[in-house]
């Protein structure tokens, strides 16, 4: 099978449903959509009255934007601090999208004003700036956040103010929130398809090293879950604190375990040193990740063969050879000639901006409740550089085009096995049982839970 030619979407019984779903049972009238938005409006009015009368209760004005000539888009991406490497990419990609849309007449004739203060990779700044954007600038839509902790820091504020919020990063999954749309890839999309390929290719035994925090731990749990389902075997796991950059003992343990392949879920520049050190110690084992290469472009930053035989299940990398992507990449570098890479998260920010545009055009207004209602009505597709991306109203996540990317000894990237994978896990009943199309409620009832796989 040629790994560089375009592979059409396959249907797979186990890991995803087909992309086209029968939506005939989901007519607008059947839904509570219209009654929900009028219920929301009622709550909004009483909330506003309550806020005037008492100091308690909802703050801020919901459904901002008054039909003026500009539409305000709040963007919180790290332009300094530890996460600036990816934050700057995301900012640049979003700015490109905004400029393209504005040059093309804006959204419904309204020009987008992008307000993007710098949260400096600092969660307290995220909290402060989110409040500023929502309560002072009255943004019509909020984008942003990098680490899951930054998202969790601002979700209370988002929910309290019933603010439409897009989190465009890959993350560990599990957010089921009325006002939040997560357009990054989640573990079931990135792991399910790739793990089976790897066990077929290399063997059943693998060893996991992961960053010692939520993302690393939950993703490692996902690997255990999928391994159970397909009969693979996790030899051992090691969790490494984020500020460790010396991996001598880790490498020795991997050598001792002698796995068929190594799963690396390493985060941050300290952890990235692992690849150099592994290479220097002569440890040659195929690797799999969900997070490296696709945004931190380690394959370009490190000399070969540090990342040789690294596989990543990913929705996007700059190297994707489709016509659509090549066009996007050249436009990106035309606009940002000094940029070093345009990666997964940046592309997510780009297509999500277009997704938002589509939703506003369909709703006919920037009123946040209406836009949320439109997004919950039925799946919406947008043409992204990765291919066609479709929203999933039940979970507020999206179906991605997942490919298995491989870096060879020279760090050239090849792709195979492209397929559309839905974010199926959150919908599973009885657990987690997320169905946001059925949600009716004021923000006080919003659950902040982040679901994780249980019993693995």
């Amino acid at each position: 099978m040629s790994s560089t030619s375009y592979i059409p979407i396959e249907e797979r019984g186990v890991y995803g449903y087909t992309m086209e779903r029968d939506n005939s049972s989901q007519t607008v009238e059947d839904r509570n959509a219209s009654s929900r938005s009028s219920r929301r409006r009622f709550l909004q009015a009483s909330g506003a009255a309550g806020a005037v009368a008492l100091t308690a209760g909802c703050s801020g004005i919901t459904g901002g934007g008054s039909g003026s000539d500009t539409l305000k888009m709040g963007v919180l991406e790290d332009q300094s601090g530890n996460f600036a490497l990816t934050g700057i990419q995301k900012y640049q990609a979003q700015k490109l999208a905004v400029e393209e849309i504005n040059a093309d007449g804006g959204i419904n004739g309204q020009e987008i004003e992008m307000i993007s203060p710098d949260p400096q990779s600092d969660n307290q700044r995220y909290q402060e700036l989110a409040r500023r954007l929502i309560n002072r600038d009255n943004v019509d839509v909020l984008f942003g956040g990098f680490a899951s902790s930054s998202r969790e820091a601002i979700r209370p504020i988002v929910d309290e103010n019933q603010q439409l919020y897009f989190y465009t990063n890959q993350y560990e999954g599990g957010v089921c929130d009325t006002y939040t749309w997560c357009t990054g890839a989640v573990p079931e999309q990135q792991i399910s398809t790739t793990l089976e390929f790897l066990t077929d290719e290399f063997g059943d035994n693998f060893y996991t090293i992961a960053a010692d925090y939520n993302f690393g731990q939950i993703t490692a749990a996902w690997y255990r879950k999928v391994a159970n389902e397909i009969g693979a075997n996790v030899i051992d796991e090691e969790f490494i604190p984020l500020d460790v950059s010396q991996f001598g003992s880790t490498i020795n343990r991997i050598q001792e375990a002698d796995p068929d392949f190594l799963v690396t879920l390493l985060v941050g520049s300290n952890h990235a040193s692992f690849y150099n050190q592994k290479n220097a110690s002569g440890l040659n084992v195929p690797m799999n990740t969900t997070i490296n290469m696709a945004q931190g472009y380690e394959h370009l930053r490190f000399d070969p063969p540090a990342l040789a035989n690294m596989y990543v299940g990913v929705n996007y990398m700059q190297e994707i050879p489709t016509e659509q992507n090549r066009d996007f990449v050249s436009r990106f570098y035309d606009r940002w000639p000094d940029a070093k890479y345009v990666g997964q998260m940046a592309q997510n920010s780009y297509f999500t901006t277009y997704l938002y545009k589509q939703a506003v055009e369909k709703a006919g207004t920037t009123n946040q409740d209406e836009v949320l209602a439109v997004l919950d009505e039925e799946p919406m597709s947008v043409e992204a550089p990765e291919g066609t991306v479709t929203t999933d109203p039940e979970t507020h996540h999206v179906t991605h085009q997942i490919r298995l990317a491989r870096a060879d000894e020279e760090h050239n990237i090849t792709f195979r096995n492209q397929q559309a994978v839905e974010p199926y896990w959150l919908r599973e009943t009885p657990y987690p049982g997320c169905d946001l199309t059925q949600t009716v409620g004021a923000s006080e009832d919003e659950e902040m839970t982040q679901y994780e796989p249980k019993g693995v």
Partner: protein, 360 residues
């Protein structure tokens, strides 16, 4: 004041409740005394009280949020500026109190739960400060070694809390959340049942201003009292103070514990404001911030701590909005400038130029 009916009231008279009050609030350990100062102070207070009437709820809430850091600044000022204990660890107490508040108020629901959470959190922070203080001061640790131990303690908490992500890491219904932080922390609410006032927006503002005022005045009394003199004595020359017969270890421990309580209170209010807390409060960047605030404002003066904290947090927030990539560079340059040019902090400099300021 008795029943005086003279047409001019002499506030400098030695008796009378007003001047007795003032004499407790004034002294060489604080800036600002005299009638002009207190008039100015009252005017400022008045402005603060009417501020919500003129500005939208965002500005009011944000100003209050910036003021919350003043508790952390004051705790460091008391511990470092007045007693010479250079602690890198005030944020540890801030964070512990924040997490404890979260744990208690999530488990004990309702407004009463939040008040209980506040009390327990502050007590736990104080207890922890007591333990660390005892460990250090009764072991003869001083100067830079205190800084290192407190920093190490803070980093231990950072590393530890960062990996508490799983389901197993929960206290009752409250999940510690690891690196992603603890969510769904309720806001403080004073009162019972439905009549409770939730401390958000304007209520939050008045709560912060009120508690800060009480704290400031209380601390003024403290540092101008006998204990205050002992604290300053320890700062200037611990051995000599000991030779005079004072139990310096006990005083240091007491001050350090109280500093922990103050910082803890700030932590509770922060957690209540954001309904969230995460291990970054134990990070080295945040640990250095109180030092920056207090050094800039003037670490030896309470007013300096409050004003310095507010000024630096305000400027640094503005920079993040407008400064783009340069905001951290500007902040660093500001620090350098203050240390090199105004090593005492800018507030004492200002005070000297104003009437009613300290002449020394």
């Amino acid at each position: 004041m008795g029943g005086e009916t003279t047409t001019t009231v002499d506030h400098s008279a030695p008796d009378g409740t007003l001047s007795r009050l003032r004499s407790r609030l004034e002294g060489p350990n604080t800036l600002g005394e005299g009638r002009a100062f207190w008039l100015g102070f009252t005017a400022l207070l008045g402005l603060l009280l009417v501020y919500p009437l003129f500005r939208s709820s965002y500005y009011v809430s944000n100003t209050a949020y910036l003021l919350v850091s003043a508790f952390l600044g004051l705790s460091l000022c008391l511990v470092w500026g007045y007693t010479g204990i250079f602690s890198f660890g005030q944020v540890a107490f801030y964070g512990i109190a924040g997490y404890t508040f979260g744990i208690v108020s999530i488990n004990v629901t309702g407004p009463v739960g939040t008040v209980v959470g506040l009390v327990v959190a502050v007590a736990v922070a104080g207890a922890f400060a007591f333990l660390v203080g005892y460990f250090m001061f009764y072991g003869g640790v001083s100067d830079v070694y205190v800084a290192i131990i407190t920093l190490a303690v803070t980093l231990v908490l950072n590393t530890f809390m960062g990996q508490t992500a799983g389901e197993a890491w929960a206290v009752g219904a409250a999940r510690l959340g690891g690196f992603n932080g603890m969510t769904e922390i309720p806001s403080l609410a004073l009162g019972v049942g439905d009549t409770a006032i939730t401390i958000t927006d304007a209520a939050f503002y008045y709560f912060v201003v009120g508690t800060l005022l009480v704290t400031y005045l209380g601390l003024r009394v403290l540092v101008n009292s006998d204990i205050g003199y002992v604290m300053v004595g320890i700062r200037e020359n611990q051995d000599r103070t000991e030779l005079f017969g004072y139990n310096t270890q006990k005083v240091k421990l007491g001050v350090f514990t109280f500093g922990g309580v103050l910082a803890g209170f700030g932590g509770v209010v922060y957690a209540s404001w954001g309904n969230y807390i995460d291990p970054s409060v134990f990070g080295i960047t945040f640990a250095a911030l109180p030092i920056i605030w207090v050094a800039t404002g003037g670490r030896k003066w309470l007013g300096g701590a409050i004003i310095g904290t507010f000024a630096v947090t305000f400027v640094s927030q503005k920079l993040s909005v407008f400064g783009g990539q340069y905001s951290l560079v500007i902040l660093g340059a500001l620090l350098l400038f203050v240390i090199l040019v105004l090593p005492e902090g800018f507030v004492p400099q200002l005070a000297r130029r104003l009437p009613g300021g300290d002449e020394s």
